[in-house]
Every structure is written in structure tokens, then in C-alpha cells.
């Protein structure tokens, strides 16, 4: 029998026309010859697209932080951190296990003390966590891009600052990077402990009720007042206001946000009141990325109103028709408690019921963090972060180093500091920035390389097949298990019309597929279509109301998108690995959310 293996990293062929892509990423992100012996999987959940040079910071810094927490702060006994590599612009990762049993034992003693402190004081620590993260958001909002005028303002002299403004160009840029790093340390501070609680309850349920759908665990745990629902709730409020103010006629599917806004401007007092309400809702609730906060071009609702305005016409229509769009939190809470009580009643012994209560209780304790941290970290903070970096890009463009502000995202973050030093020097010396000649060809070349690499289909995994896959992070965050690996290995067996994934939300439905590779195109989706995408993002919630089903390449059943799909009663299959390559827009597909199967039927 031939030894089974995924393609080896060293055997991945260069993509013609994309030579030199390596320069976009740090040297420590490149595959090494010895990496062939290890198992790597494509993290398409967080990085479904090619990484622009600056955006690679969204893998470097999170992995710096998550590993620090699991390996060095909390001393998880069986796992250190996650290593990442970039090839052809795609991020592959692997978990570093602790295999030595004596070492596990040593780590376990520290783990009990340290994790025990957090679990034992969870509510207090989570309360403090929220304050810390809000302080970080205030800090990033306060970062200024210095203005470099002919002369520094007089106050700089009379105030005795003694430091000219060009100094703050680099300091303030660096502060953005530092704050981003701190945000990720806080993000991952509670993450693995929270998921630890989930894993425990999940494993218990799977053992006691092997037929239980993965999503049922999340259904028993889910809380009702979840921050991630707020943006959608705000939209519904705006829709209600539009109906109340007799503005419903302006919200027509397919109309561009700019046209709707200018039409509102011509509707006198009512229009003005609605626009004021929109501004009020935007901060902070429109700081939700159309992606998951890992790409600069995944703009937030606040940056680009396409997504919220794609959802508004339907909400307006529903409210005008007398429907109540308020989340039925009481009913949802009752349903959650009923499900938990019925599963509990099916357990055989009082001991088991006692264990069930403890595990479920622990999950519900950590749940507010698990569900809400995304809004604070990936969305609110990260929206602000990219806005600030874009502002530094605007400075570089204004100084002639770059052609336009967004070109800054084609420089690595250390290269941006270089370019800013160029500006700082030129302003000081009265000379001219030399960056135009240096950076502009590089930016143009990198844009071309990204375009070329976007056509490459990354294999779901590389390297050796792991003997056992039991890393809790990999399982809970990426939904990758031994079965996933088997599916990837056996991927060529069928005729290509069937795609398998996780049953994330039950129900069976047929519809026309719309494949969205670029999440910014989410506004294009039409009533009744089946959304097929690399990854479903929480901020897509509002458009879930009008689609028939959702299919994603990657994602676990605990993901927020899966929870939202269930709440909308819409079938969803996630973590298919290949849906966006196998299915074409216009295909008729059958989505079986009960079994996690998608079939192209015509």
C-alpha cells in the first residue's frame, strides 16, 4: 500500500507569472525543507483569499498572541502554539503538540493553577477584559497621523514639546501596530479557555448522544443578548423608522446606497431624521467587516454601505407588511432551555446529569466572551486599525511616495516604516522623497502577482498525514477532525457533483447557486439564491434573510454564521473545503443541511 500523503510543500509548483511572491511576506513565514515531514492545513477560514503584503500582519500577530497564551501564559498541557507558513500567498498552519508525557505533567500543574484562576474568576475577569478592550479601541481611535505643514504649529515651540511632528509619523504608525498586537493578546487571552469549556461539553454530548447534530451543542449554550446581533438589530430599527417616516419607497432592491442617501436628502425633515438615525447607529454598530477582519479590503458597513443597504429593502418591505422583525429572544431562550432539559432527561444516571449541568453551566459562563469578542476585536477595533493604516497611506500618497492611499497595503508593515522614514527625512531636509521611484514599481508588481496568485487553488492540506489529530484549537476553531482529513485524502472518488461538509443548520432546499469569492460582492446576492462562499462572516446576517441556503468552504458548526443560519431557519453546510471550486454561479444545487451534503443537480 502506498504511503498516504498530501502534496509536499517542497513539491508545490510555482505559479507562472507570480515569481517573487516571497518578498511580500516575512522570511519566517516561508516553508523550510523539513516542513515536508509535518502536517499543514490551509487556513481558509481566516484567510480565504491571497494575502496582500501588509495584511500578512493578520497572521503574524494573531499567531504570536495565541501561542503566547496557550504555550507560555496558561501552559496548556498538550499543545504549544500554532506555526504558520505562507505559500503562493496562502496561509497554512499547524499546531505544535507536546508529546512528552513528563513534560505534559509539568505543564499540567501550571495549567491547573493558571487556567483555574481564570475559570474561577471568569465573570470578574471578563468584565475587566471588556474595559481593557474598549480602552484599546479608544486608543486606536485617538492615534493621529501628523500633519506635515511648511512649519510646525507655533504651540509645538511655545508648549516646550521639543519634538517636531515628523517624529510622530513613525511613532504613531508604530503605535497602531503595537495596539493591534495588544488587541490580539487580549483576543486570545480568553479564547482557548473558552473553547476548552466548549470542547468538554461537546465531547460529552457526542459520547452520550452520538446522533446529536454538532449544532445542537451550540443551541444549548447560546445566549440571547449577543453583541454580534446588534448591527442587524440596528438595521431593523432603521427599517422601522423608514416605514414610520413614510420613506419606504426609497428602499428598492438593487439601488446603490449613494442614490438612496441623496434621495433621502431631498425628503425634508423625514429624510433628515432618518439620516441622523443612521449616523447614530453607525458608531459603533456599523463597525462590522464584511469579512472577518483579516483583509484591509473587507470594508466595514461604516466604510461601505452596500451590505446594510442590500438588506434594508427586504426589512422595510416586511415591516410595511406588518411583520415583527424583533428577535423573539424569549421564545429562543425557552427553546434553548427546553432542548437542554430534554437531553438532560435522556441521560441514564444522576451522576451524568450532574456532570451535564456543570459542563453546560461552564459553557454558558464563557459564552458571552465567545460570542462577543468578535465584535470588539475583529470588527470594531480592526475596522479602526485599517482606517488608521489607510490614513498613513494617504500621507504617503500625499507626499508622492505612493499613487494612492490603499497602496500602503501592498507594503509589509516594516516596509511602511521605511517609507515613512523617507517622508520624515524629506520633510526635515527640504529634499524630495525617493520612495516614488522605489515603491511604486513594487506596488504595481505586487498587485499583478496577487491577481495571478488568486487563480491558484490551494490544496486543503500539505505534508504528512497526521497519526492522530486531537488538538483542541484545531478541532474547535477550524472544525478539522480525523474525518475531515479522510475526506480530503479521498477527495477524488466522486464525480465532482457532490460536496460534503458539516451540517451546520438543518433543512433541505434546492436553489440557484451564487458563488461569491470576494465578500464585498455580498450585495449582489438575490432573493432565494444559494450562497456559496469561501467563508461566511457574521456581518452577513442581514442578507441571510433573503437567501435559501448557505454553503462555505470552511467553518465549524460553532461559528457565529452557523448560529445565525439556524436562527433564520436556513439550511447551511460549512467546511466543505471545495464548494467554491466545484460549484459555479447559476448551477442548480441541493443543499442538505441535515447531512452536510451539497449536490449539483443541474
Amino acid at each position: 500500500m502506498p504511503e498516504r500523503s498530501f502534496p509536499l510543500p517542497s513539491q508545490i509548483e510555482a505559479v507562472p507569472g507570480a515569481e517573487g511572491w516571497e518578498a511580500m511576506y516575512p522570511y519566517f513565514s516561508r516553508f523550510q525543507p523539513e516542513d515536508d515531514q509535518r502536517f499543514w492545513f490551509y487556513n481558509s477560514m481566516h484567510f480565504p483569499e491571497v494575502m496582500p503584503a501588509f495584511d500578512a500582519i493578520t497572521s503574524e500577530i494573531p499567531y504570536t498572541a495565541i501561542g503566547a497564551n496557550t504555550a507560555r501564559l496558561f501552559s496548556f498541557p498538550t499543545t504549544l502554539g500554532i506555526e504558520y507558513r505562507i505559500i503562493n500567498g496562502r496561509v497554512y498552519i499547524t499546531a505544535n503538540p507536546v508529546l512528552d508525557e513528563a513534560e505534559q505533567g509539568k505543564r499540567f500543574a501550571h495549567f491547573q493553577e493558571r487556567a483555574g484562576h481564570y475559570y474561577g474568576n471568569w465573570d470578574r475577569i471578563y468584565g475587566e477584559w471588556q474595559q481593557r478592550i474598549e480602552a484599546l479601541i479608544a486608543d486606536i481611535e485617538a492615534v493621529e497621523v501628523p500633519e506635515l505643514g511648511d512649519l510646525d504649529p507655533l504651540e509645538v515651540v511655545t508648549g516646550g514639546r521639543g519634538i517636531a511632528s515628523n517624529h510622530y509619523v513613525r511613532e504613531n504608525f508604530h503605535r497602531c501596530i503595537d495596539l493591534y498586537s495588544k488587541m490580539w493578546h487580549h483576543h486570545t487571552e480568553l479564547l482557548m479557555l473558552g473553547y476548552g469549556a466548549y470542547v468538554v461539553f461537546f465531547e460529552f454530548c457526542k459520547q452520550a448522544f452520538p446522533e446529536m447534530g454538532d449544532q445542537m451543542v451550540a443551541r444549548m449554550v447560546a445566549g440571547m443578548d449577543v453583541t454580534m446581533y446588534r448591527p442587524d438589530d440596528e438595521l431593523k430599527k432603521l427599517a422601522r423608522l423608514a416605514v414610520e417616516l413614510d420613506l419606504a419607497d426609497l428602499f428598492v432592491e438593487g439601488t446603490e446606497p449613494a442614490k438612496v442617501l441623496s434621495a433621502l436628502g431631498e425628503r425634508g425633515d423625514a429624510g433628515a431624521r432618518w439620516l441622523a438615525a443612521l449616523e447614530a447607529a453607525k458608531d459603533p454598530w456599523f463597525n462590522v467587516s464584511v469579512g472577518d477582519g483579516f483583509y484591509h479590503h473587507h470594508l466595514s458597513w461604516a466604510d461601505d454601505l452596500t451590505v446594510p443597504f442590500a438588506a434594508l429593502p427586504r426589512y422595510v418591505e416586511q415591516i410595511a407588511a406588518g411583520e415583527d422583525l424583533t428577535r423573539p429572544t424569549e421564545r429562543l431562550a425557552e427553546e434553548r432551555d427546553r432542548i437542554a432539559a430534554e437531553y438532560r432527561a435522556l441521560l441514564d444516571t444522576e451522576d451524568e446529569k450532574g456532570a451535564f449541568d456543570q459542563m453546560l453551566g461552564l459553557c454558558r459562563l464563557v459564552f458571552p466572551y465567545i460570542e462577543s469578542h468578535k465584535f470588539y476585536c475583529e470588527h470594531w477595533f480592526t475596522t479602526r486599525f485599517f482606517q488608521k493604516i489607510r490614513a498613513f497611506g494617504a500621507l504617503l500618497a500625499e507626499r508622492g511616495v505612493l499613487l494612492e492611499a490603499d497602496d500602503v497595503f501592498h507594503l509589509r508593515h516594516v516596509e511602511v516604516e521605511d517609507a515613512l522614514a523617507d517622508v520624515m527625512l524629506a520633510w526635515a531636509s527640504g529634499g524630495t522623497e525617493l520612495g516614488a521611484r522605489h515603491w511604486q514599481p513594487i506596488v504595481a508588481e505586487r498587485k499583478r502577482i496577487l491577481e495571478t496568485l488568486s487563480g491558484w487553488s490551494p490544496p486543503p492540506a500539505l505534508g504528512a498525514v497526521p497519526e492522530a489529530l486531537n488538538d483542541p484549537a484545531v478541532k474547535m476553531l477550524w472544525g478539522i477532525t480525523q474525518e475531515t482529513i479522510e475526506t480530503w485524502l479521498g477527495g477524488e472518488d466522486d464525480d465532482g457533483s457532490t460536496v460534503r461538509g458539516y451540517a451546520a443548520s438543518p433543512g433541505v432546499v434546492e436553489g440557484i447557486a451564487r458563488v461569491l469569492l470576494n465578500v464585498n460582492d455580498i450585495g449582489q446576492i438575490r432573493e432565494g439564491e444559494v450562497l456559496v462562499c469561501p467563508v461566511t462572516a457574521p456581518s452577513w446576517g442581514p442578507v441571510f434573510g433573503k437567501i435559501a441556503a448557505a454553503v462555505s468552504d470552511i467553518g465549524g458548526t460553532m461559528s457565529h454564521a452557523a448560529i445565525v443560519a439556524r436562527e433564520y431557519g436556513m439550511p447551511a453546510v460549512v467546511g466543505t473545503g471545495v464548494a467554491t471550486t466545484r460549484i459555479k454561479t447559476g448551477d442548480r444545487v441541493r443543499v442538505d443541511g441535515d447531512r452536510g451534503v451539497v449536490t449539483v443537480v443541474g
Binding site: 496548556f76 498538550t78 505533567g105 456532570a355 456543570q358 441535515d594
Partner: protein
Amino acid sequence: MTTPSVLHFRDVGIGDVPTVGGKGASLGELLRAGIRVPPGFAVTTAAFRQTVEHLTVHGEPIPVRVAALDPTDADGLAAATAEVRAVLESAPPPEEVARAVTAAYAELCEECGDPTLPVAVRSSATSEDSAEASFAGLQDTYLWVRGAESVLEHVRRCWASLYSVESVTYRLRRGVPETDLGMAVVVQRMVDARSSGVMFTRSPLSGDKSVVAIDASWGLGSAVVSGDVTPDSFVVSKVTGEMKRTVAAKTRWHRPDPSGYGVVETDVPAELQDQPSISDDEIAELVATARRVEAHYRCPQDIEWAVDDAGEVFLLQSRPETVWADKDRAAKAAPAARPFDHVFNLLGGKRPSEG
């Protein structure tokens, strides 16, 4: 007090296994629980005993004759058991037994408004010993039997199955006294099954008690039980009603013979093969019924059922599920000192205390 030769389902319950066997007692119990079962009666173990003691082979009552056989003499045993079976199947039973069965059948015919009412004749074991049951042909089922003569004939055929070579050898080797031998036979109105199958109130594959697992196919349930067809599978959550649905290509079915007597196995019409054999409403009713039965018995059940042309659901029998019962006793989770100790137990890795 002597037990009558025949007892109606409505007159028996779960405590009557010694007289009417497991099937008979279960059908009576289901009726008491308000579950719809096809009407019928059980020919009791008393009728069986009376018959085998009344009939003689070479001048000896059957139990005496069989008890004297030598289990090591294969040829002799084969010849002797063949004689016993021939006598049981052909010699008239005691007048009283024949009269009771005939009268009970006539009453059933009248109740159902069909003078030659088709019935199912099925053996109903009194023993929990599944090995004995399989040797003794205690799973015998004769479908679509019509007329009193034919009913009696099939009852005797069920009885005769207790005297197969394997069954007798088994009893002799184990020293089971012939006088302890008992078998009842149930006679039940035939459901003109459009679809039928089996269901478990836990997953037969994983033991999960939170689901009802239904196997269903077109026609009579014998096609499902015998494995002549790959049935549709519906696994329904008791908690949420969510369903895993696998509709199979059902190529064969068991149907009543066009003559009205007996059963034939034929091809399912092409247009039906890929259609689900039961509707969602029927699934819902089956699940509800299964849960009532389980609640009544307070333990997981293994149930045979049928749906007639009018969409009416009937249960044909229900018995405790046994395969997973042992595994339930395996070590289970228990509460920890602090809830988060469960995390330490799962993520703790290997520790010196565990060796």
C-alpha cells in the same frame, strides 16, 4: 384453574408471557396503553401442551417420545423428529383446541366484516433465550392466511417448528425438560400494508437514546426483516424533530399473492422505487407512537409497524431493545469538584498518576 386455549389480545398484558408468549403479551399491553394494533388473539401455551400430550407417536405422547431420544444419534434423531413434526402437522388436534381456534377466528372475521379475513399467524415465544428461539424457529411468521382450516394448519406448523433437529438437540444437550416446553401462536388481522418496517427508540447503530430510528419500505415488513430490500432510513431527534433522511432505491417488495392467499416477492414498480415509502406525517405519527410505547415500558423498544392504504399506522409488535442495554452499564461521567475540573480532565494530557 385451567388456562383457555385461546385468549384475546384485549384480555392479556405484559404479565401473561407464560401463557401467550412475548408477542401476544406485548400486543395486549400495547392495546392497554392505547396503541393501535391489529385485532386478534393468541393460541395459548396450554393449547400447545394439550395438543402435544394428546398426540402420540408410536403410542407415546410427544413429550415422552422426544425426551427419550439420544442427542448423539444424528440419524435416529432426524428420523424421529421428522415423525413428530409430521404427526403435529397432519393429525387432528384435540377437539377442544380446534373448536376454540375456529371460534376465535370466526369472531375476528365478524368483527372485521370479512368471512375469510386474511390474518398473520406468528409464533410467540415464552423464552428469553434467543439461541433457543433461533433454533426453534420461534421467529416463524405466516402472512396472508385465510380461512379457519388454514389458520389451524399454520398454528400447527408453528408448533412443529419446535421439533426441528436443531431445536430438539439443543434441548436434549442442555437438559431442558420437554414438559417445560411452551409456545404460543398469535393470530392477527392482516394489515394491508402499503408500507411497513421496523423502528427503534434509540439508534441501533450508536445506542443514542435521543433519536427514533425508522427503517421503512414498500409493502409488507417481511421484506425489511428478511433483508430482501434496502429500506429508507429516517433518524428523528426526539428533542427537536430534526431528521436524517436516507431514501433508498427499493427494488423488491413483499405483497399478498393475487390469489389472496400467501405472499409473493416481486419488483417494486419503477416509479415507486426512489420515492420515500412513508410521508412526513406518517413519520411524525410513528415517532409519537414509538415514544408512547417507550414511555409505557420505561425502556428502549424495538418495534414492528405497518401503514395501510388509508395511512393508518399500526404496531405489529414491540419488545425491549437488548443490544445496547449492556453497554449502558459502562462507566459514565460524574460531577467534578469544580465545573472547570472537567476541562482539566479532558485537556490535561497524560499524567503520572495514570501510569
